[in-house]
Symmetry: C2
Subunit: 250 residues, 2 copies
C-alpha cells in the first residue's frame, strides 16, 4: 500500500471536534455539560447538518460525550454496565470498593430477547475447544433500559446436554450452569479472552450502534473438574455500554 497523503489542514468537522475536545480536556466544558447543538454549530461555521453531526460523532466515538435521545449531546457521563469477570475475589475485600471508572452498580435489569436454540455441527474452532463435533447453541440478545447491549452465543457439547433443559428456552432455576451441575459437570474454572474491534454491519444493526463505535468481544470457556470443557460462550458487547472488571491475586 502506498502511504496516505499528507493532510495540510484537517477537514472542518475534525477542526470543530478538536476545539470541543480541547474544551472538554481543559475543563472549560465539564462532566454533564451540554455540547453545542447541531443547529448552533451549523450557524456558527456555516456548514451542513451532516457535517455538524460528524463533528459531534467524533467526540461520541472517543468516549468523551454521549447523545441523549431528543435532548442533545452531553460531555461524557460514561456510566457503563460493570461486568465482573471473577466474583470470588470481589472488590469488597480490597480497596474499600475503589472503582477506577464510574459505573452504574445498581444492577439495571437485563431483558433477553431473540433467543434461538439449535443442535448443529460444530465449527472447526468450536469442535477443538469443546472436544465435540456437535453442539447445542443458545443465541440471545440482552437489552438494558430498552437498548440492546450484548449478543451472546453459548455452545455446549451436544451429547452432554441432550435431553436436558439446556436445550429449552427456559433452562430452569439457576440456569444452564445449574443444569450442568445436575449432570455432575459444574463449571469450576473459566478462561476469558478479550479483544476489541469494529463491528460488522450485521452486528452494528443487531446492537443498534452508532457508526464508528467499537465492540468488545469476550470469548469464554467454562471447565468442569478434571479440565473438561463444558461451554464456549462468545459475547459481543457494545463497548460504550461496558466496563469489564477482573480481580486476581499475584
Amino acid at each position: 500500500m502506498t502511504e496516505l497523503p499528507v493532510h495540510h489542514e484537517p477537514p472542518i468537522y475534525r477542526r470543530i471536534a478538536d476545539r470541543l475536545r480541547d474544551e472538554i480536556l481543559s475543563g472549560v466544558l465539564r462532566d454533564g455539560d451540554r455540547l453545542p447543538g447541531e443547529n448552533a454549530i451549523m450557524a456558527e461555521y456555516g456548514i451542513a447538518r451532516a457535517t455538524a453531526r460528524q463533528a459531534l460523532a467524533v467526540l461520541i466515538n472517543e468516549g468523551l460525550a454521549v447523545p441523549r435521545r431528543g435532548s442533545g449531546v452531553y460531555v461524557r457521563l460514561f456510566r457503563p454496565i460493570r461486568r465482573h469477570g471473577s466474583r470470588r475475589l470481589s472488590r469488597e475485600q480490597w480497596g474499600q470498593g475503589r472503582a477506577i471508572w464510574d459505573s452504574d452498580t445498581r444492577g439495571r435489569p437485563y431483558t433477553v430477547d431473540e433467543v434461538r436454540i439449535e443442535r448443529v455441527p460444530a465449527s472447526e474452532q468450536v469442535a477443538r475447544l469443546l472436544d465435540s463435533d456437535e453442539v447445542w447453541v443458545r443465541r440471545r440478545r440482552y437489552s438494558v433500559d430498552g437498548r440492546p447491549v450484548q449478543l451472546a452465543v453459548s455452545h455446549f457439547p451436544a451429547d452432554l446436554v441432550e435431553g436436558t433443559a439446556v436445550t429449552l428456552p427456559d433452562t430452569g432455576p439457576g440456569g444452564a450452569y445449574a443444569r450442568l451441575g445436575d449432570l455432575g459437570y459444574s463449571p469450576v474454572h473459566f478462561t476469558e479472552e478479550v479483544r476489541a474491534r469494529m463491528p460488522q454491519p450485521s452486528e452494528a444493526r443487531l446492537l443498534d450502534m452508532p457508526p464508528g463505535t467499537p465492540l468488545i468481544v469476550v470469548a469464554r470457556i467454562a471447565y468442569a473438574g478434571g479440565g473438561v470443557p463444558v461451554e464456549f460462550n462468545e459475547m459481543t458487547l457494545d463497548a460504550a455500554s461496558y466496563v469489564l472488571q477482573y480481580d486476581f491475586d499475584a
Copy 2:
C-alpha cells in the same frame, strides 16, 4: 438529535467491502489470502484510489484483514500479542493450552522508548485511588517488531517511593514491583478494569494507528497486603495488536 437519514443504497466503498466480506466469511477467500489491491479495485469499479482504500480500510477495521507494509492487504491473520491478566492460574493447568484466538506466543521482545518520569500533584481520580496527593509518574511507550503497540502510565504514591529506583529510568532487577517489595509493599492483589473506545488524535499519533481502529484501555490497581494501593497503571493498547487473557476459578 434528529434521526439519521435512510440510505437507500450504501456508498460504493461499502458495497465493495460488503462483497469482499462475504467472500471472507463464506470461505471463498481464506486466511492468509491476498485481497485485490487498490489498483485492481480502481480498475474494476472505475473509482478513485481513496475510495478503493476506504473499502479495504473497512475490512481492516473489522479485524478481517491486515495490511502488510509494501505488500498489500491480507485476509485476517490476526496474530495479536497475548497479555495474561493473571499468571497464577495459568492456562497450562486447564484445557491443555486451548487458546480461543490464535496469538503469537513466542514472546516477541518489547522495546521501551519515550520514558518520562516525574513527581507531580495527583489528579482527583488518582488521589482517590492511591490515597495520596502527590505521585511519581512513569510514562512509557512499548513497541514490538518496531511498531508501537502500548502506552503505559504508572502512578506511585510519592512519599512511598521517594528516593528509590522507582523514580529512576532503570528500576533495577525485577523492576518497580521488586522495589515495592524492598519497601515491604509487594503487590499481592490486582484489580483491572477494561474498556474499549476510539483513540483521540494524540493517541492515534503516538501508536501510529490507522484511522477507524479502536483502543483497549486497561486500568489496573496493585494492592500490597492489608489492601494498601501501591500503583495505578493506565495502559492504552492498539486493539488490533492484543488479546487479553484472564483465568479464574468459579
